[in-house]
C-alpha cells in the first residue's frame, strides 16, 4: 500500500485524490455550533492544563485565614471552607473530571456499541448478549462497587501508584456500569437497519460481515451514539463525584468538578460562587461536546455533506 501510494505521488500531473476526511473537515468547519464548541472545548483544556502554570497556587494548600472568602484579587473565585483557592481547585478538578469523563465515556461507548452491533447483527448471539445486558442493568451498583474496590484497589495501587490506580479503577467502574443503554439503543437501530434495502444490496454483492458493519451499519447508527456520548460525559463526571462522596473514588483532598459542586451545594446561599463555577464548568463542557458531536455527525453523513 505504502509503495503504491508513494509511486503514484511521483507521477507528474496527477493530483492525489482528496481523502474523504478532508470533506468531513470542510463540512465540520461550516457548522457554526461545532466550531464554537470545539474552540470552547480547547479553551477549557488550555484552562485546566496550562492554567496551573500561570495561576500557581496549590489546589490543596490551606490558607485558613481566607476561609469562606468571596471573590477577591487573591482568590478570584473565592475560597472554600478551609481557605483553599477555588480557581486552583477548579483547574485541578477539571483535569481529573475531563479525563475521567472522556475515558469512561469512550469505554462505555465502545463496549455498548460493540455489544449492540453484535447483538443486532448476528441473531445467534442476540439472546445471550441481551440477557447479559439485562444482568448488568439489574445489578445493584453500590454493592458491586464495594466488591470491585475491595478486590482490586490494593493490587492496582501497588502496580500503578495511588493516583493512577484509582483513576483506572474509576474509569473502569463507570465504564462497565453504563454501557447498557447504548447497547440497547444501538441494537434496536441495527435491527431496523438490517432490513433496509441498501444492506440487502451490499449483502447480495458478497460484502463480508466486518465490512458490512464498519461501512454500512455503524455510520447509520452514529447519531444515537453521539447523543449517548454527550450524555455519557455528564453522567461520568457526576458519577465520579458520587463515588468520591462514598469514599470509593479519589482521596477526599483531591478536587474534581462533581465533588466541588457537591461540596458547594450547602453553601448555595452564602457563597453562591462555590456552586456557580463548577456547575458552569460541567454544563458548558458537556454543551461544547454536544455541539462537537452534532457537527461530527453532520460531517460524517454523506447525504448532508453533499448539500
Amino acid at each position: 500500500m505504502t509503495d503504491a501510494s508513494s509511486s503514484t505521488s511521483e507521477q507528474v500531473g496527477y493530483t492525489k485524490p482528496r481523502s474523504q476526511w478532508w470533506d468531513v473537515w470542510d463540512q465540520f468547519k461550516t457548522h457554526k455550533g461545532a466550531v464554537m464548541g470545539a474552540a470552547f472545548f480547547i479553551a477549557v483544556l488550555i484552562f485546566v492544563y496550562v492554567g496551573p502554570y500561570i495561576w500557581t497556587l496549590d489546589a490543596q494548600y490551606i490558607d485558613i485565614r481566607a476561609r469562606n472568602q468571596g471573590p477577591s484579587l487573591a482568590h478570584p473565585m473565592g475560597a472554600d471552607q478551609l481557605g483553599r483557592d477555588m480557581l486552583a481547585r477548579i483547574m485541578a478538578g477539571g483535569r481529573t473530571s475531563i479525563a475521567v469523563g472522556l475515558t469512561a465515556m469512550l469505554l462505555s461507548l465502545v463496549v455498548g456499541t460493540f455489544v449492540g452491533v453484535l447483538a443486532g447483527y448476528f441473531r445467534r448471539v442476540d439472546g445471550l448478549l441481551m440477557r447479559l445486558t439485562d444482568l448488568f442493568l439489574a445489578l445493584p451498583l453500590l454493592p458491586l462497587l464495594l466488591v470491585i474496590i475491595m478486590l482490586f484497589r490494593d493490587p492496582l495501587r501497588a502496580t500503578f501508584g495511588p493516583e493512577q490506580g484509582i483513576f483506572i479503577l474509576i474509569v473502569f467502574v463507570i465504564g462497565i456500569t453504563s454501557w447498557m443503554q447504548t447497547a440497547r439503543i444501538v441494537r434496536g437501530d441495527v435491527l431496523a437497519l438490517k432490513e433496509r434495502e441498501f444492506v440487502l444490496a451490499a449483502r447480495s454483492i458478497g460484502t463480508p460481515p466486518h465490512r458490512m458493519i464498519l461501512r454500512h451499519v455503524l455510520p447509520n447508527v452514529l447519531s444515537p451514539i453521539m447523543v449517548s456520548a454527550t450524555l455519557g460525559i455528564a453522567t461520568a463526571i457526576i458519577t465520579e463525584s458520587a463515588l468520591s462522596f462514598l469514599g470509593l473514588g479519589f482521596p477526599s483532598d483531591f478536587p474534581t468538578w462533581g465533588r466541588l459542586l457537591f461540596d458547594g451545594t450547602d453553601w448555595l446561599q452564602r457563597n453562591p460562587e462555590r456552586v456557580i463555577w463548577p456547575g458552569l464548568a460541567i454544563s458548558l463542557t458537556v454543551l461544547s461536546v454536544n455541539y462537537i458531536g452534532d457537527g461530527l455527525r453532520d460531517a460524517l453523513d454523506p447525504r448532508i455533506r453533499g448539500r
Binding site: I62, N68, L82, D154, F245, G247, L248, S252
Partner: protein
C-alpha cells in the same frame, strides 16, 4: 383523629389536673420532630442504633434516666436505690428497685415487677441477638420480690449497679405484649416491634419503618398534666443540612437531631431567629489511633498483628507527641464542630470526677516545639525531600477515617500541619458501613487497621467508665484469632495498665475510682498511641416556640419530652 385526641386529652386533663396546673395534657397541638436518619424499628432491643433508641424513648421508659448533668432521675421507679437507703446491698451484689404506685401501661393495665423480669429474659435469650445484652452483663438473676419490687442480683460485687433497666437503652417492655416473641421468634413479632406498649408520655399511632412515626398522647400517663402535645410526628430522611433548614429556615419542624454540618452555615441559619441550636456533651471523643504494629502492605495477612512486629516509628512516644503538638485543636473545632465540640487532651473527658487535667499542654498548637522535639531526638530529614527519616525510614503515613464531610476537612488540615513538621500523610476515607462493619473479609474495617493512623469517635454509655477503660488491655488487641474483635484498636499493651484495670474492677469508693480512671487516662496519653482531638457533643436545633428542651447526652436527647410545651406567641 387529631380532634378526638385533643378532646380526650383535654377531658383527661380536666378530670385529674389540680386547678393550679399551668399546662394541660394535649392542649398544645402537634409537635414535629425530624431525625434525618429514620428509625427502622421501635424495639431498642432489636436495633441498638441511636435513632431507634431515641424514638422508642417516647414510648418505653426505664426505672431511671440520666438528666443533662448525668444525674439519675427516677422514672418508673419511686426513687433511686442507694447503699444509704438500703436499695443497694452492702456487699454490692444486688440492687432493689421499687416501681411507682399505680403505674399503668398505655393500654390501661398495671405495670408489675414481672414485666421487668420478662424484659431480662427477653434480652438475655441466647437466640434473640439482643442489641443491649451488655446492659445485663454480670446479672445473675432478676426476681420479682412482690408486685412492685424488682431485685437484680449480680454474679459478683458491682460497684456501679445502675446498668440494667437504667437509661433509654434498657427500657422495660410489657410482658403480655412480647410473651410470644422470645428468642428466635423476636423478629416475627412485627406488630409489637413497631408499636410497643409503654409507660411513656406518648403511644404509637402509626409506624412506617425508616420513614415516619405518628405518636398520640398516652391517656394513661402518670402525670395527668403531661404531655402538653397531643400528637408527635417523627419524620425521617434527608440529610443533616436539610433537617437544619426545615427547623431554622422554613420552620416546618420543631426539633431536628444530630446537625453535624459546617458551624458557619448552622450559625447563619440560626441567625434567622426562627430556632435555636442546642448542644449537650457526653463522653464522645474524636481521636487518632496510632498503630503500634507494622501495617506495611508488603507483610500481607500478618500486617497490623503482633507477628508483623512493632511499627517502624509510631511506637516512639516522641513521634506521637510531635504529631499531637502540631495539631491546632481549637481551629479544628472552629472549622468543623462549632458549639458541638471542645478541644480535649483526654480520651476520658467526662464526667468531671474522671477527667484528668494533667495533659492540657496539648491545647495550644506548637509546630516549632514539635520540630525542635524531633530535631533533638535525631529524627531529621536526611535526604532533603522535606520528609524526616526515622532510622532511615521516611515518615510517610496512611491516614484513614470514615466518609464524612467534617472528618475529611479535619484530615486535610491535619495533613497540612504534619507536612510542616516533615511528616507526609496519604489520606483515605472509607464508607462508614464498611469501616465500622466487622466483615473479616474486608481490608478496610477499623479493627483491622491496615493503615498507620485512623480517626473516629468513641464513647461509653452511662456515666461509669470502668468497661471503657478496660478496652486498652493487652488481651483486647484485635487479631485474626479473635476474628479481629477487640476494642484495643491502636494495639497498646502495658502490664501496669492491665494492673490498674483489675484494681478498678475491685474498687467501690467513687473518689478512688476517679483517681484510678484518671491515672489510666494519663498513662494512655503519655504513651502517645492515642491522640484525642475533640470532645464532641450532640448538636440539635429546636424552634423558638418550643419550650422545656433539656438536652442530655447521657441518655436519649428526648428524655424529658413529657415536659416539652409550646410557648405562647
Amino acid at each position: 383523629m387529631k380532634f378526638r385526641h385533643l378532646v380526650l386529652g383535654a377531658m383527661a386533663a380536666f378530670a385529674f389536673a389540680p386547678t393550679t396546673a399551668m399546662a394541660e395534657r394535649g392542649t398544645d397541638g402537634q409537635l414535629n420532630i425530624i431525625y434525618w436518619q429514620a428509625p427502622s424499628t421501635l424495639n431498642p432491643y432489636l436495633s441498638g442504633g441511636t435513632k431507634e433508641v431515641e424514638a422508642a424513648s417516647l414510648v418505653l421508659e426505664s426505672m431511671a434516666r440520666f438528666d443533662e448533668t448525668g444525674a439519675l432521675v427516677p422514672f418508673m421507679a419511686a426513687d433511686i436505690p442507694t447503699v444509704e437507703n438500703g436499695g443497694v446491698a452492702e456487699d454490692l451484689t444486688s440492687i432493689t428497685w421499687t416501681l411507682r404506685e399505680g403505674l399503668m401501661w398505655s393500654d390501661g393495665t398495671p405495670v408489675t415487677a414481672n414485666d421487668a423480669v420478662f424484659t431480662w429474659q427477653y434480652c438475655t435469650h441466647p437466640e434473640g441477638g439482643c442489641a443491649q445484652a451488655s446492659y445485663f452483663d454480670g446479672v445473675d438473676s432478676v426476681e420479682a420480690v412482690d408486685d412492685r419490687t424488682v431485685r437484680v442480683n449480680f454474679t459478683e460485687a458491682k460497684p456501679f449497679p445502675y446498668t440494667a433497666f437504667v437509661g433509654a437503652e434498657s427500657p422495660i417492655i410489657q410482658a403480655a405484649q412480647f410473651a410470644d416473641c422470645l428468642g428466635a421468634a423476636a423478629p416475627e413479632c412485627t406488630e409489637a416491634n413497631f408499636g410497643p406498649i409503654g409507660t411513656g408520655p406518648f403511644a404509637v399511632e402509626e409506624f412506617r419503618p425508616n420513614d415516619v412515626i405518628v405518636f398520640a398522647a398516652n391517656e394513661n400517663y402518670r402525670n395527668p398534666d403531661q404531655p402538653a402535645f397531643s400528637r408527635v410526628v417523627f419524620k425521617g430522611g434527608g440529610d443533616a443540612a436539610s433537617a437544619a433548614r426545615s427547623v431554622l429556615e422554613t420552620g416546618e419542624f420543631d426539633y431536628a437531631w444530630n446537625l453535624q454540618i459546617d458551624p458557619t452555615l448552622l450559625a447563619e441559619m440560626e441567625a434567622n431567629g426562627i430556632g435555636t441550636v442546642v448542644t449537650a456533651f457526653g463522653t464522645s471523643v474524636e481521636r487518632l489511633h496510632l498503630n503500634q504494629f507494622n501495617p506495611d502492605p508488603a507483610l500481607g495477612d500478618i500486617r497490623s498483628t503482633a507477628e508483623a512486629g512493632p511499627h517502624p516509628f509510631l511506637t516512639d512516644p516522641i513521634v506521637g507527641q510531635a504529631l499531637s503538638m502540631a495539631i491546632d485543636r481549637s481551629l479544628l473545632v472552629e472549622v468543623g464542630y462549632g458549639a458541638g465540640g471542645q478541644p480535649t487532651c483526654n480520651v476520658l473527658p467526662a464526667p468531671e470526677l474522671y477527667a484528668s487535667t494533667a495533659n492540657d499542654d496539648c491545647l495550644v498548637q506548637d509546630i516549632d516545639g514539635a520540630n525542635a522535639l524531633l530535631d533533638e531526638a535525631g529524627i531529621v530529614d536526611t535526604d532533603g525531600d522535606g520528609i524526616r527519616e526515622y532510622n532511615g525510614i521516611p515518615m510517610r503515613v496512611l491516614y484513614q477515617t470514615s466518609t464524612n464531610a467534617v472528618r475529611q476537612d479535619t484530615q486535610a488540615l491535619v495533613k497540612q500541619w504534619w507536612s510542616e513538621i516533615g511528616v507526609d500523610a496519604e489520606l483515605r476515607n472509607i464508607d462508614a458501613s464498611v469501616f465500622f462493619g466487622g466483615d473479616p473479609a474486608s481490608p478496610d474495617t477499623f479493627q483491622k487497621f491496615y493503615a498507620d493512623i485512623e480517626m473516629y469517635t468513641n464513647n461509653f454509655s452511662g456515666v461509669d467508665p470502668e468497661a471503657y477503660m478496660a478496652n486498652w488491655r493487652c488481651s483486647d488487641i484485635p487479631s485474626p484469632e479473635s476474628q479481629w474483635q477487640g476494642a484495643n484498636i491502636q494495639r497498646f499493651c502495658s502490664e501496669d495498665y492491665d494492673a490498674l484495670v483489675t484494681e478498678m474492677s475491685r474498687t467501690a469508693p467513687l473518689e478512688e475510682r476517679g483517681r484510678l480512671a484518671r491515672e489510666m487516662n494519663d498513662m494512655l496519653m503519655q504513651s502517645y498511641s492515642i491522640i484525642p482531638l475533640i470532645h464532641r457533643g450532640g448538636v440539635s436545633a429546636h424552634a423558638n416556640s418550643l419550650g422545656g428542651v433539656r438536652m442530655s447526652d447521657w441518655d436519649s436527647e428526648l428524655w424529658n419530652i413529657a415536659e416539652w410545651y409550646r410557648i405562647a406567641e
